[in-house]
């Protein structure tokens, strides 16, 4: 999977405040941003707030976008930064999986559920910048290069960060007796 990229003429019109063009950009990215926000916050209401904040920031900061750069990576960097900063500002992590795994659409079978809940809990306890790498790689299925473009990091740093995040997860899961 790769980052969706709207036509440059649509981006330009949206940048000038054309509501239709902005609507098209909303339609292209809203699901991606909402999914990412949900996986960063583990909470539907927070995800709604974060997504709204991302698009408001887009509207306010559209003037800073340089058309010579790819819009998708620029916009997703803005989205990721908003989600990471919002996440750092909130302190609801403690009750996350109990409260919010119930919101997930598909629920795993009972035996596997305990293991998955523990994995999710471990992911939720990751530092937000590590979690962002994990989510972009796993859920959006982006390449190291694309994750790097979004986060403004070299590919090698992305690989390292992802590896460290996975090692942290494995160590935590081994501690609680889950095969991670």
């Amino acid at each position: 999977m790769s980052l969706p990229e709207p036509r440059s003429e649509v981006v330009e019109r949206a940048r000038r405040g054309d509501p239709q063009a902005f609507g098209e950009i909303v339609r292209i990215y809203e699901r991606m941003v909402y999914n990412f926000a949900f996986r960063m916050s583990f909470n539907r209401e927070d995800a709604i707030d974060m997504t709204q904040e991302v698009f408001l920031r887009l509207f306010r900061n559209f003037g800073k976008f340089e058309p010579s750069r790819g819009f998708g990576a620029w916009f997703m960097r803005l989205a990721v930064n908003v989600c990471i900063n919002e996440r750092r500002g909130r302190t609801r992590r403690s009750s996350l999986v109990q409260a919010d795994s119930a919101e997930c659409e598909s629920r795993p079978a009972a035996t596997a559920e305990i293991g998955k809940d523990r994995i999710l809990r471990a992911v939720a306890d990751l530092n937000p910048s590590y979690r962002a790498v994990v989510m972009l790689r796993y859920i959006e299925d982006l390449s190291y290069g694309e994750v790097g473009r979004i986060l403004g990091l070299p590919e090698g740093t992305v690989k390292n960060r992802l590896f460290r995040a996975r090692e942290v997860l494995r160590a935590r899961l081994e501690k609680v007796g889950v095969d991670g």
Partner: protein, 202 residues
Amino acid sequence: MRSACGRGSDAQEYFDGAMDAEKSREFRLHLEGCPGCRARIEGYGAIGAALSDLNPGPVPAVLHERLMGIVPVAAPRRVRIWAAAALLAASSVLFWLMFMPFSAGTGMPNPGDGGLLSPVRELNRIGGMVGENVESVASSVRDFAEVDLDIGAAVPLEGGTLAAVFAAMVAATAFVNAAAYRRYRAAARGPAAGGMTERRTT
């Protein structure tokens, strides 16, 4: 289980499909004899499976509405700001016309000049001229169309009328700004007037 082979980073690249074909083939052979790397790759798979269960479903309708409402509300706001600025400028000109003393003949403000005209009287004079022009145009139309138009005498603009126009412009400016700000705040909160109460979707 930790792999002691030191190829953890390769295991990650292999799992992520970021290895070229040849290296991939070589690593598969390594995997057959390395339980540590196999465990690591299984672990990566388990994390992915758990995360894929974390599915928030489709974008809630209330969120979609809010997002689609960001620009249609915000863009007219920009137009309204320009309209408000134009009204304000026009109001200022009127204010200046009403309260600055005019020098007779030149029409330029000249405080301290003994031959000043009352600004209101000067405006009445201008208004009278405009009225005369209107009457002249009406007369031409009447002659051309041979119809009996009753425009009446020239209606000079009076100081009181101008003051009323000025007050109306200031009020319109304030109203336009207040309406734009209200709409902007509502858009920031949500599409409904009490957007903050619409957050819960389940």
